[in-house]
């Protein structure tokens, strides 16, 4: 159990039966009055943001969450299917739960799936993934200035900026935390 004074950014607690993470937090106290703990809470299942204000002495249940190593199998109508390689247990994450992370999923990729009970509510990708450029404007002759970028699209449909020397068919490394180009990959 947590109490009001444990509340801080990043803490994961249960609100109305669903896990929430504290994204914004402030302590306020009008002169000679009771302390208030003002929280912006993100519902970890729906993504909805709510404001709640608590007083001293309130209790909070920690959100029972667990990260499990899983492998990405395939996508079907219900969503993205992951499997625990040890137990062969499968978990399906609907598209909206994954957000933009699906752009960086490749077959058999090892990810961490955040579990709330037997429900998958999010994934943690590897920091770097390799994807092939499927569309990029051709290199313009004479464009040798360093730092000149151009738009490109990779096999998953994700759009990003790449250096002008990167052509279609090139395998590139992308940082999944920033979504940015890192380097060319030699096959």
């Amino acid at each position: 159990m947590y109490s009001s004074s444990d509340l801080k950014k990043g803490l994961k607690i249960m609100i109305d039966g669903e896990p929430h993470v504290i994204e914004g937090f402030d302590f306020t106290k009008p002169g000679k009055g009771q302390a208030l703990y003002k929280c912006k809470l993100r519902n970890m299942i729906t993504g909805a943001l709510i404001d709640r204000t608590y007083r001293s002495g309130e209790n909070f249940e920690p959100a029972p969450l667990e990260e499990r190593d899983m492998q990405y199998l395939y996508k079907d109508e219900a969503g993205y299917v992951f499997m625990d390689a040890k137990t062969f247990e499968q978990v399906i994450l609907p598209e909206q739960t994954l957000g933009n992370d699906y752009y960086f999923l490749t077959d058999n990729m090892e990810v961490k799936v955040l579990m709330f009970g037997d429900q998958g509510i999010g994934i943690t990708l590897p920091n770097f993934v390799n994807l092939t450029v499927t569309h990029a404007d051709p290199w313009v002759k004479g464009d040798t200035a360093a730092g000149n970028n151009k738009p490109a699209t990779v096999e998953s449909g994700y759009n990003l900026q790449v250096p002008s020397f990167v052509d279609e068919g090139t395998l590139i490394q992308i940082d999944t935390r920033t979504g940015e180009y890192v380097t060319r990959v030699k096959e």
């Binding site: 302590f27 306020t28 106290k29 009008p30 002169g31 009771q34 208030l36 003002k38 204000t53 001293s56």
Partner: protein, 304 residues
């Protein structure tokens, strides 16, 4: 998103220089007005029992939550005008405007009341902000006396969806105050909020003509509480019974040791006086256009 560490360091560098200058100006202001600078012990046997202030224990004693008890004992001992700049500790207070260890300026003057203190506040702010216009969060605050004076009940009528009486009766005073009233205070010019319900001022004198009100005020600039002041209660019996009431609610383990007896003994000899506590960290925030207290101190508790 947190600013990059380097940006934080650069802003803090400038702010710490500003902080040192502000403290020097505060000293000069009070010395020029014949106030005696005093230092009282930070570690004391007990603080004034107040329901919502939690002292930090220190080897069988407590760190002071404010220097008020010792400073009032000095008033009683015959020092008529005193000031102190010191560190204070209040457990579990941490937010964008709160640190568990923070700096207070307190000053006391005998034979004066809370209205006199408002005048000194105005003089002090003008001394610190000679430009009249204070830059604050993209706007400007006009620092020109007299500052507006608004009774607390009227502030609720003006800014809150419910009256002060309703908020108190429904037990949501703090919620309404911090959501509706406080952010509206002092946004274009400083404001004094005064005449608090008697139960919200454990050490203040009540008004002779309206005993349900305490002679207490708070100073607001930029939606931020800067100072809390009152005409001191000098009635020893009344003070003891208020402390007793607070101790009863708090249910401390050993009430005998938590009654500030030496203070109550000296209170017999204290002349009619008024005293004020001003948050120096918040004053520096205001003068450096900083919205977070972290930006104006050398170290936050998390950095230790």
């Amino acid at each position: 998103m947190l600013p990059a560490p380097d940006a934080t360091r650069a802003t803090r560098h400038d702010n710490l220089y500003a902080r040192a200058r502000i403290i020097q100006h505060i000293r000069a202001f009070f010395i020029a007005r014949a106030y005696l600078e005093v230092e009282t012990p930070h570690r004391i046997p007990c603080n004034a029992p107040e329901e919502y202030i939690e002292p930090v224990p220190s080897a069988g004693a407590f760190l002071h939550t404010s220097p008020e008890l010792c400073m009032k004992r000095l008033l009683a001992a015959g020092y008529p005008r005193i000031f102190q700049l010191c560190r204070c500790w209040r457990n579990a207070e941490r937010g964008t405007r709160h640190l568990p260890e923070f700096t207070l300026l307190e000053w006391y003057a005998s034979h004066s009341d809370y209205r006199d203190l408002m005048l000194t506040c105005e003089e002090l702010l003008c001394h610190l902000i000679p430009d009249v216009n204070l830059k604050w969060q993209g706007g400007s605050i006009s620092i020109q006396p007299p500052f507006e004076r608004i009774p607390l009940a009227q502030a609720f009528t003006r800014f809150a969806p419910v009256s002060l009486e309703e908020a108190l009766a429904q037990g949501c005073y703090e919620e309404i105050y911090t959501a509706h009233v406080e952010p509206a205070l002092g946004t274009s010019a400083p404001v004094f909020i005064y005449d608090y319900p008697a139960h919200m001022a454990a050490l203040a004198r009540t008004r002779a003509d309206a005993p349900h009100l305490a002679e207490r005020f708070e100073l607001y600039i930029g939606g931020m509480e800067l100072a809390n002041a009152f005409t001191e209660l000098t009635d020893v019996h009344e003070q003891r019974s208020r402390f007793n009431a607070a101790l009863e609610i708090m249910q401390p383990p050993d009430p005998e040791h938590l009654m500030p007896e030496a203070f109550l003994t000296d209170l017999e000899h204290m002349p009619p006086s008024a005293g004020i506590a001003l948050g120096v960290d918040r004053l520096v925030m205001l003068l450096t256009d900083a919205t977070e207290i972290d930006a104006v101190v050398a170290f936050t508790p998390e950095e230790l």
